[in-house]
Symmetry: D2
Subunit: 498 residues, 4 copies
Amino acid sequence: MSNKIIVNDNESIRFNNKVDFCVGTGRLGLALTSEYLDELEFVQREIGFKYIRGHGLFTDDVAIYHEYEEDGVTKVEYNYTYVDRIFDKYIELGIRPFLELGFMPKAMASGTQTIFYWEGNTTPPKDYKLWTDMVVNLLKHLRARYGEEVLTWPIEVWNEPNLPGFWYKADMPEYFKLFKETFLAIKAYDERFQVGGPAICGVNDEEWIRSFLVFCKENNIKPDSVTRHHYTVEFPEYDGQYAYSKLEDAQMRFDNLQSSRDIIDSFEEFKNLPMHITEFNTSYTARGVIHDTNLNAAYIAQQLSRLGDMNESYSYWTFGDVFEEVGVPFTPFHGGFGLVAANCIPKPTFWTFAFYKKLKEVGDKCIYRDDDSIIIKGDKKYAGIVWNIDKDEFLKEFELGSDDKEYVLITKTVDEETCNPLKVWHDLGEPANPDKEEVKIIKDSAFPSIKTDVIKAADGKVDLSLKAGKNAVIYFELKEREFTPDRGYNYEKVLTFH
Amino acid sequence: MSNKIIVNDNESIRFNNKVDFCVGTGRLGLALTSEYLDELEFVQREIGFKYIRGHGLFTDDVAIYHEYEEDGVTKVEYNYTYVDRIFDKYIELGIRPFLELGFMPKAMASGTQTIFYWEGNTTPPKDYKLWTDMVVNLLKHLRARYGEEVLTWPIEVWNEPNLPGFWYKADMPEYFKLFKETFLAIKAYDERFQVGGPAICGVNDEEWIRSFLVFCKENNIKPDSVTRHHYTVEFPEYDGQYAYSKLEDAQMRFDNLQSSRDIIDSFEEFKNLPMHITEFNTSYTARGVIHDTNLNAAYIAQQLSRLGDMNESYSYWTFGDVFEEVGVPFTPFHGGFGLVAANCIPKPTFWTFAFYKKLKEVGDKCIYRDDDSIIIKGDKKYAGIVWNIDKDEFLKEFELGSDDKEYVLITKTVDEETCNPLKVWHDLGEPANPDKEEVKIIKDSAFPSIKTDVIKAADGKVDLSLKAGKNAVIYFELKEREFTPDRGYNYEKVLTFH
Amino acid sequence: MSNKIIVNDNESIRFNNKVDFCVGTGRLGLALTSEYLDELEFVQREIGFKYIRGHGLFTDDVAIYHEYEEDGVTKVEYNYTYVDRIFDKYIELGIRPFLELGFMPKAMASGTQTIFYWEGNTTPPKDYKLWTDMVVNLLKHLRARYGEEVLTWPIEVWNEPNLPGFWYKADMPEYFKLFKETFLAIKAYDERFQVGGPAICGVNDEEWIRSFLVFCKENNIKPDSVTRHHYTVEFPEYDGQYAYSKLEDAQMRFDNLQSSRDIIDSFEEFKNLPMHITEFNTSYTARGVIHDTNLNAAYIAQQLSRLGDMNESYSYWTFGDVFEEVGVPFTPFHGGFGLVAANCIPKPTFWTFAFYKKLKEVGDKCIYRDDDSIIIKGDKKYAGIVWNIDKDEFLKEFELGSDDKEYVLITKTVDEETCNPLKVWHDLGEPANPDKEEVKIIKDSAFPSIKTDVIKAADGKVDLSLKAGKNAVIYFELKEREFTPDRGYNYEKVLTFH
Amino acid sequence: MSNKIIVNDNESIRFNNKVDFCVGTGRLGLALTSEYLDELEFVQREIGFKYIRGHGLFTDDVAIYHEYEEDGVTKVEYNYTYVDRIFDKYIELGIRPFLELGFMPKAMASGTQTIFYWEGNTTPPKDYKLWTDMVVNLLKHLRARYGEEVLTWPIEVWNEPNLPGFWYKADMPEYFKLFKETFLAIKAYDERFQVGGPAICGVNDEEWIRSFLVFCKENNIKPDSVTRHHYTVEFPEYDGQYAYSKLEDAQMRFDNLQSSRDIIDSFEEFKNLPMHITEFNTSYTARGVIHDTNLNAAYIAQQLSRLGDMNESYSYWTFGDVFEEVGVPFTPFHGGFGLVAANCIPKPTFWTFAFYKKLKEVGDKCIYRDDDSIIIKGDKKYAGIVWNIDKDEFLKEFELGSDDKEYVLITKTVDEETCNPLKVWHDLGEPANPDKEEVKIIKDSAFPSIKTDVIKAADGKVDLSLKAGKNAVIYFELKEREFTPDRGYNYEKVLTFH
């Protein structure tokens, strides 16, 4: 009795692969640092995201907003030195800003509440005119520097205003005011800019989205998108600096996203309005130890197979571990959000993204999808991903329709045995400050194991069987093989004649 | 019943590790090319040889020697444009020339016999004065450009004069004349230069070495070294462009080397004169298909454990596959001599060298050696290599003396399963001109599998057991582990709490 | 009494600026070398050509064509290892091959005549079928590797068949046969390929072009372009290795080009057929000492202002000094064809090209041109070039129409005083093999002197005056200036308060 | 009547050239940023300093010191993530930290006073034991990571405690306590560390140095060096963001340094104790507009010719313009301290340092020095620098003793005409955020003009005359010329035959 799955080439499953649309980042000021840029360059070379979204555009380390006294009058001046330096680099690296407008410059703030180690001020502006002037001036400056493409950079107003830490008292009417003023000011400058919100997270999602849309409707505003976040763990247990969390059921979280989608579509005016997940990950803390594990890679593999079903896009939080919300990390494997750890060491989840990016290059014709696999049909090839979320090793067997050709099967395997930098670091003694040799060992251990095999199709079908170890993520490609040996070269003889 | 090998820390086995002393190269003119330099840079970064030796210094593509007519008289002029360009790069890459003097510039040759696709003239000079002037002038030029270190660059007179292809009629007296004239001219310029010969290969070794030394003795010449080559296959069977060879018994070849050593030592005047193997490999042909295999890597692992016993040094022929003696290769895996294939793809044998280089860094205290392993004791660590020449998988078990410490075991495995670019290329269809994506897959598959483990010593000893698959070469390091977890970080909990 | 030239913004002078269409190269095999690639990368970064054309595609160092015996039969095999390596690099550097088909592989040749130090065989094929098979197979291979863009790479049949050194006996009917066979075979494969000829040079231009077109007409062939060369010196006087030539009158040479153009247009069938200058320079020898001078830069500046008048394109022979037609250069300044000398030292003529490329970026609206200047009107700016061919220093004064704005004048000056690497090398003693420090001094001296000034327009015009020293080439840009000083920054006070 | 200066080769003038001993930097935390590292790499490549000194090692952005509560007890933990990242880069760039110990981590501070935009806490520790533990632990960590060389890295206790902004109330007894506790703790750990102070600046120099040495004497402490700063402008006039200052008389400032030297030597115990200028520049403000001028370059040229007379070393404040003490700069030319401006644009003063570094490479035999020139005699060459501080152009004429050889004179000129990026930026309109093209123009204009000439010595002497424009700094080298033209190459004919 076999579990072989019969896959039909003519199947066409909805699969909106937006793996490379956007990625999260530590606060923008960190984009000045070289470790950050090294990591981003590594990520862009191997994966290549289109947009990048982070907090802190208007926080004082980016230093845009300044007031000074002259003749007894307070005047405003803008400093674009750092924002230009940051965005110049982004563009050099082939990535564009997804503009999250926030937080509040101290000099413009109405209060003193701050969030994070780096003290982002999270209070409303003392004067909304100062705020909208700053926003619009920035857009003008960016357009002068980067040209008309700036009109296409997505804009999001603030971050998680439904949490009191991020927005003073989580004051809903005040946020709606902020949204409205910002929206109108930008559209007055140029209505082609794309402005969305409310960028909420986790708590009272439904109430906020519904209220936001009601507010928009009443104010005759049509936002260009609705944005929210998506994390998938229970409230963590803390120990010292670290957070241990239980994963939630994936389906339950997908249902939650669908309910947001449904709310939007329940408004005639906003039906089919794009919904962007502007942050997602498993754990929502920057010391969420799960982030560095192979389990995380496998769990995210499932997420990427489904998130496009109800969302226009989804942005992993974050590309790298240069991130200071809860302070400077003490060790390289501290449960940071990043796809890569310090010294550009790719974590297992990095490969989940790299694999989905490769799927995208093969094409968008999805012919099979279940809870632990997905298959795409491309030109003269199949490509797919198999993952194993915390189960014992299993065998995944497919029968694919095919001409009677010869194929090469290429597999790239990431699992606890073959590509587990966290374990290597642990075995080395969990060094807080690994030396060059230790870094090299960890890094060299962090790449997928690559294997090839030759498989022949017969009787109009080809059998494919993949063994998925615990928490494995396996990318495979099955390509038609054109065998063109050189004159006199006989591989069997090479192996046996000696 | 265990096969456990008890290793005593106090053992001290003669082990003259000269893995990085010298490496061979395709003709020097090829050092102008970028693929050659890329491969050399890769080799230097990962292994780092001290010297490089190749043919063709005086062949016309390097273009040193020129004659012209003026007022009815033939005059000589030297052109150092290319030799400087080549040696500048070598020095940039941290490697120095091992100066093999040859072949003959066409304008200086007494005959028309050439060797190789690139037509190196292998006849004596029409006038020995022209030859010695050219040699000495070159040394003067090099000294002006590179300083006094040039005095330490080893010099070897010609290549394999005992083969008629390399030296017209394999004329022994003529070679001895060449040696004498060259030796005396160089020493007359500066006696500190190190000049050796006769660079023979394979046939009539004993007769040539003995005769050479008799000649030297009679002529009151004391060469600075005796040089010869060392290949370890039977005469090949050819098929199309390719050569299939059977490996010879390793011990038989070691004995042959020892007999050369014994001949030298039988001369009172030359006792202990350094003997350099200025070329060695398994197959001696540039289409020797064995070169690209895991078997080659394992066989060479044994060679490197023993070649220092009777030789001052030994130079693998060659570092890379940019090599044109029998023409331009049609495919990337064509049985070239190189440690790396085109596009800087490391072949399995590359790692044998990288591993012996790591051994050298750990130290020179050899505490164990047998036919398929070697162990070094360093500071707070053991390092060793285990290889398997064409046997079924076996388990190698050691019991090492030790304090009751905790160790991390790091292994790097190269075998037919884990690091076999030849197979991957074959499975891809043996593409003659792989595209970028194929090159990437092959290259990514060509790195060792790295694993770590934690092992505790007890009762004053630590057990180590390594599984060696067919044609495996495994590097291991066993280092004292200092475990310093950060506050609240619990690796077991990281894995289990979710 | 002023010589001020009044320039009218509304003027529109025909100026077909094809400065960056194509550039020449030493034989293709040299493209394997790293110095060549360094120079090409430098040239592409600063100038950026679209196509590159050189000899030797089928010469044996590229090693495409091979014959072997099997079962008593001679068979053919192709080797694309090197041609792929070369073209991969070209494409990496943003340049495409302009495919000159030649010379003859030795194994395919009907005779033994060769040309150059590197011995390109210049005889017809022993069998035209072998030739056309080789050509078409190469095109198929290139298309498989580089895609459909290969269809747009220009093709030229052979080089300078009107010279007996380049084509055995300069046999016209035999060349026409070669052209016809090649043309028909390529078009039979895919008629979209662009095939031209006869690539003639210097002698009997008129007769060859006319006869070529008569032949085409009679054979019902419509070539996609007519190609010829253009050199502008008298027969040189030789001294040792070097060639000293007198420049010819520029107008006389332009007239000669126009006569070719007129011949083409005199055929009804070929009227307006594109004419490509597939080689041009002053001296046609690779030891033409004039190439390294500032005079050459100024003379070529005039050429670039006019060559587009009667030609579709024109390709400077060559981009760099890696070039071996008459052997390996003995010194870095040996009168090579290159825009750059060894070690990527730009020669004065390099800047002539860089300046015309900048003109092209400003736009194609030419508002003024005379024998020593040209002016383009762009968006909010003027740009132009002034040159001085061997005259005493003169002042060039323009009055440009303008709004009453403030302008910044940017000038980049290359002349005998400010940017003359040849003189610096000479003053250093003409070192044949300069050391690193000498190379750095020469290179640092080889960049234009950059100056700026602020000029105000008044009464609807702005005055511009440029002093052109002997053999100067001066690029200028006159841009509207937006002065935005920071709060409290006063440049005058910066200079005076101390 | 000539002003020719007769220079005697046998002269030997005291000239302690420490141009490359140490350089200043913005706060250490900025060393994480990529612009900072790019600038440092540029500086190291062209100049190459041995040490780098800056503030903020213990400030919270470097994040070394942390307290946490456990079981009701406050505990301490150290985080070396960032300090390692910074120092790793320093060492990669060939520079070592000159360890300035300061400022106070907020959690360890006794008060809330801070200095600068980046809020360095400048109050004494709440507990000196916490401070000395932190210092000694850091030294231990650095030694474990970087080896025994750490023992040679100079240490300085705090910065400018004689200014109340830098040290709460400029409390002298409290500083002496800090010094003593720190000194004793470090020496107790390892007495080979080199510990100095009091790092004072400007005000009451004499009183502080004398009192410091009295204190040391009374406490039986022998510091390894005495440190102070050296700025040479009057109190500035401010306008908006910018500071305009008048230069002080150079001799007056040299005398002031000599008086410090004399105080030290007046103590028997401290006679000849090294005195380090751990900061010097003209203006002491980070908006000192003079820094960007050619005048600054010329003034510093004089400083570098004399500062070694009374000091062991002197460290220019600072290498680059990444510096935030008074906030983020609004424009690239804002009077920052740096030798280089943003985007690695070298300011004129950069070249003063580069030129003195070249002098050092030539040798230390000074044969002439006056108020606007210095000359060194090296092997077969002379090298020197001529500067002009704010005077009209003058001619400097020397007669140097010499064999009757031929010389090449190489000059590198930096003056207001030839190398003045500030003017170019001004002419471009003083753009706050220059685009790529503007940056390129400014940068290309910021390199010295290089000229060569051939000069013949006669009658045992050679005449040298150099024209120094206003605020020029001119480096010259006069090297024996070996003229080796190639066969047939005649430079005169190259220029004239055409």
